[in-house]
């Protein structure tokens, strides 16, 4: 089987690989897409940007056959088509790389790529033809993978490469990538972009969904902006800039840079010395962690997801005990024999905005007002009586919702019905309202739209200026660079090095994230 990629294999009569005409889709009363019309040229990289909940994913799911449009039409190569399922989409040459990978972790690369096309009863022929194709791909696009490696052992960037191989191996001439760079290091992102350029050169049309404007500017040929389910603008990338795009996305002018003054640091509030932690099966998760965090500074922790940052935050929040070393937090000594639980940590003045608000930060079925006292339900916020004071809880919620601009401003709505950004505002409102002396923040803007990002960043800087000691963990390097006064880079559970933000460049931190020492990465 030849890999069908590019114009050479298909007769094209239309300059557009994909055309959408007046596509509408609603879920109940929510109109996710309204009259969307869009045309993507052959062999171009087209970006789609928009805030969370703007309707990007719905649109792509319609194109990939996961949802069916209520009205409107889709044209592929100028011919109207009906896409009722993902099988239809694949047979039309559309491939999709999802945000969350669809790979079998304990299969090898080869087994994963072969999945769905195993050939005959015996795997022999399927293996042979897959191997042949992999070689072709390697020579054509420079996509190197070891076919016998187990997927669970591979870094995220390589896993994504396998997803792309799976998609184009299916004969895709149109490739949809949904937020592909969220989990990649800068270097991995670069090599992804190199692959995308090579694919474009062979005639593959690519749709890139992202909320990172820098990537749109770096790789796309054209871009469409979605807001409230409508296309509010389409631009040639060369004739626009990040500022304009951000404004179109949000509908107003946005500050992309965070304004902040130099830090005026005070006393040490969190001091960690030789902290170590192993998993249940003895794998080291954190090794020899030593650093200080002072009042009035933001210490950014950079690193690819899964290099010990999550465990580090859980240790500080009291959610996990550690094995070796000790730490001092606001004057209290803590070690493995004298652990401190989340409740007493909170009482000492520690705030924690967890990286996963769905798993930790919120009870999604609880109302906003209930979530706003979560962890503080033994404080005066809920009154002093035997029963919880509903009036006091409600008025607290109303204050918080107003101060942190949570929308919709409805304290009775369950947390699950808020958008990602507003859910995050609920968590941030709750933790910041307690005026913590130390704040542990994990991925504060993950899945949060650009307008809310601006707001959240401002709040963090304001808290720092009030003298709070902030530990900021984020996989978004831009965020780390924009907010931090010092930057600590982690790799495989160790601290690779700590930089002053003045000495930090994206490249240098990127190399340190890969484990290269600070001096060599200069």
């Amino acid at each position: 089987m030849a890999i069908k990629t590019g114009k050479g294999d298909v007769e094209t009569t239309s300059p557009f690989a994909i055309e959408l005409q007046n596509v509408c889709k609603s879920f109940g009363r929510v109109q996710a897409n309204r009259n969307i019309s869009l045309a993507v040229e052959n062999a171009a990289i087209h970006g789609i940007v928009g805030e969370n909940g703007a309707g990007k994913s719905t649109l792509m799911n319609i194109l990939f056959g996961l949802h069916s449009a209520d009205s409107g039409s889709i044209l592929i190569d100028g011919k109207p088509v009906e896409i009722r399922s993902s099988a239809d989409a694949i047979s039309l040459g559309i491939g999709m790389v999802h945000q969350h990978f669809m790979l079998v972790p304990n299969f090898t690369v080869l087994e994963n790529i072969m999945l769905g096309r195993e050939g005959d009863m015996l795997l022999k022929d399927g293996i042979a033809s897959t191997m042949r194709e992999l070689e072709e791909l390697e020579t054509e696009y420079g996509m190197q993978v070891n076919p016998h490696a187990k997927v669970e052992d591979l870094p995220v960037g390589t896993r994504q490469r396998i997803e792309i191989i799976k998609a184009i191996r299916g004969g895709a001439r149109i490739l949809i990538l949904d937020e592909p760079t969220g989990v990649l290091t800068p270097q991995e992102t670069d090599s992804l972009f190199a692959i995308l350029r090579a694919l474009r050169a062979r005639g593959v049309t690519i749709i890139l969904i992202t909320h990172k404007l820098a990537e749109i500017m770096a790789i796309t040929d054209s871009v469409s902006i979605i807001r409230d389910g409508k296309i509010v603008g389409s631009r040639e990338t060369s004739k626009t800039n990040s500022g304009e795009l951000a404004e179109l996305m949000v509908g107003r002018e946005v500050l992309l840079r965070v304004e902040k003054n130099a830090a005026s640091t005070g006393e040490t509030r969190l001091s960690v010395n030789g902290l170590g932690l192993s998993s249940n099966d003895g794998q080291p998760l954190l090794t020899e962690i030593t650093f200080d965090l002072r009042a009035g500074e933001i210490l950014g922790v950079a690193g690819v997801a899964g290099n010990g940052q999550s465990e580090l935050m859980e240790v500080f929040a009291g959610m996990r005990t550690f094995d070796t070393g000790q730490m001092e937090i606001l004057g209290d000594q803590i070690d493995s024999k004298h652990p401190k639980h989340p409740d007493s940590m909170r009482k000492t003045g520690l705030g924690h905005i967890p990286e996963d608000r769905h798993q930790h930060g919120l009870v999604l079925n609880f109302e906003a007002s209930e979530n706003l006292v979560f962890g503080f339900h033994h404080t005066e916020l809920t009154g002093n009586g035997l029963l919880m004071d509903q009036k006091s809880i409600r008025s607290h919620a109303e204050t918080m919702i107003e101060r942190f601009d949570v929308r919709p401003a409805n304290p009775d709505l369950p947390a699950k019905n808020f958008s990602g950004g507003n859910q995050q505002k609920l968590v941030i409102a709750r933790e910041m309202n307690a005026e913590p002396k130390v704040l542990i923040v994990g991925q504060p803007t993950r899945g949060v739209d650009i307008g809310a990002i601006e707001f959240i960043h401002k709040q963090l800087v304001a808290l720092r200026d009030k003298g709070c000691a902030i530990l900021l963990v984020s996989v978004e390097l831009d965020e780390i660079l924009a907010l931090s006064d010092r930057i600590m880079v982690m790799n495989e559970g160790r601290i690779v090095g700590v930089l002053d933000s003045a000495d930090a460049t994206e490249r240098r931190i990127g190399l340190m994230m890969a484990g290269i020492a600070k001096e060599e990465a200069a």
């Binding site: 949802h67 989340p342 967890p354 798993q359 999604l364 339900h377 809920t382 919880m388």
Partner: protein
């Protein structure tokens, strides 16, 4: 892939259960018709048997009392995301507690002392029997479903040994305790009303029904108004988040199981203190298990549990009448009818969700179109 719009709240809590019930009755009607009886006269006998005939209402409410207690036991654990299947064993042990208190104190103290102590003892014994599974779940991660089932068997064996051995009435062959002193009898409604010269038909309905109603209110306040209820629901929805918020999750799990066991144990106040006046073998006769269906149908809410208990009470009482009136409908057939209702309102509870929501959405859309 057309996704169904969400069902409005009122339809979810009222319309859907009613439709489920009607579907169950429809299937039962077909079965009864196949047996050669008239389904409508069968239904009318059931309704009359449960509510109309003299003393029938009393019997229905007597059964209802049992279901309220066991339903609450299951529901409170459900709110903390635990499946307490041990209501049967906990109620059995509750009977032991009530019985011991009644036997030891009944002869020497006034009812004002004996009855409260016996009621509390039934709750404490039930709670104690739920403690071990709760502890094992909280501290050791042993699955509560497995341990509570095992504790049902242990309870059963323990009670056989006690009732056939240490507690058996001297000179008796049947495995049961001596009858309590009258001081330990929970007053029946018919007797209470007779004392103020209101004459009603005699039935086993007794003061424990009032206790059950109080338990419903207590449940509501506990789950939705107290800090403990808040923690309990947080643990039920998201244990990790609860841990993050500083809630002592194992402690909440253990206390919830204690309360759950106490509710189940209180069932014995009706059976043992109110009706039997002695502890006897297998007095729980499956009420603990039916509590699961009651909680499921009542959506773990006190109002729902009351209505579901009333329904099951009526089924028990009306079903017995059915067995009585029709030759071809046997006791087993009545169990089939009860099973149908449990099946449709429990296991298949959401079968009609999608068609119903599409139907309602289309009505609403049409209405909107007319208005515009």
């Amino acid at each position: 892939m057309k996704s169904a719009p969400p069902l409005p709240y009122w339809a979810d809590v009222i319309l859907l259960p009613v439709i489920n019930l009607l579907a169950a009755l429809l299937v039962c009607g077909v079965i009864i018709a196949m047996l050669g009886e008239n389904p409508f006269s069968a239904l009318s006998v059931m309704i009359k048997g449960a509510f109309v005939y003299p003393s029938s209402l009393g019997y229905t409410l007597y059964y209802t009392t049992n279901f309220i207690f066991t339903g609450l036991a299951v529901a409170i654990a459900f709110h903390a995301m635990m499946f307490n299947i041990g209501g049967e064993g906990q109620a059995y042990l509750g009977g032991l507690g009530a019985g011991l208190a009644a036997l030891w104190l009944g002869a020497d103290f006034s009812p004002l002392i004996v009855l409260p102590v016996a009621v509390i003892a039934s709750a404490l014994f039930g709670a104690a029997w739920a403690f071990v599974p709760g502890y094992l779940q909280a501290k050791r991660g042993s699955h509560i479903v497995i341990t509570t089932i095992m504790f049902n068997f242990i309870a059963s064996s323990l009670m056989v040994w006690l009732l056939a051995g240490p507690l058996i009435q001297k000179g008796q062959q049947s495995p049961q305790t001596p009858t309590f002193d009258a001081n330990a009898f929970l007053p029946k409604f018919s007797e209470l009303l007779a004392s103020v010269s209101i004459d009603v038909a005699r039935s086993p309905l007794n003061l424990s029904f009032v206790l059950a109603l109080a338990a419903l209110v207590f449940f509501w306040v506990l789950v939705w108004k107290t800090r403990f209820g808040y923690e309990l629901r947080a643990v039920g929805h998201n244990q990790q988040a609860a841990h993050y918020a500083g809630i002592n999750v194992p402690r909440v799990i253990i206390i919830t199981m204690l309360i759950s066991g106490a509710f189940a144990g209180l069932m014995a106040t009706n059976e043992i203190l109110g009706v039997q006046h002695k502890v006897l073998l297998n007095f729980t006769s499956g009420y603990g298990f039916t509590g699961i269906a009651v909680a499921l149908m009542g959506r773990n809410h006190p109002v729902g549990i009351f209505l579901a208990s009333l329904l099951f009470g009526a089924l028990f009482q009306g079903g017995a009448e059915l067995d009585f009136e029709f030759d071809s409908i046997t006791r087993e057939m009545v169990l089939v009818i009860q099973g149908m209702i449990i099946l449709f309102s429990g296991a298949l509870a959401y079968m009609f969700n999608r068609p119903l929501s599409h139907f309602l959405a289309s009505i609403l859309n049409r209405k909107q179109a007319v208005n515009e």
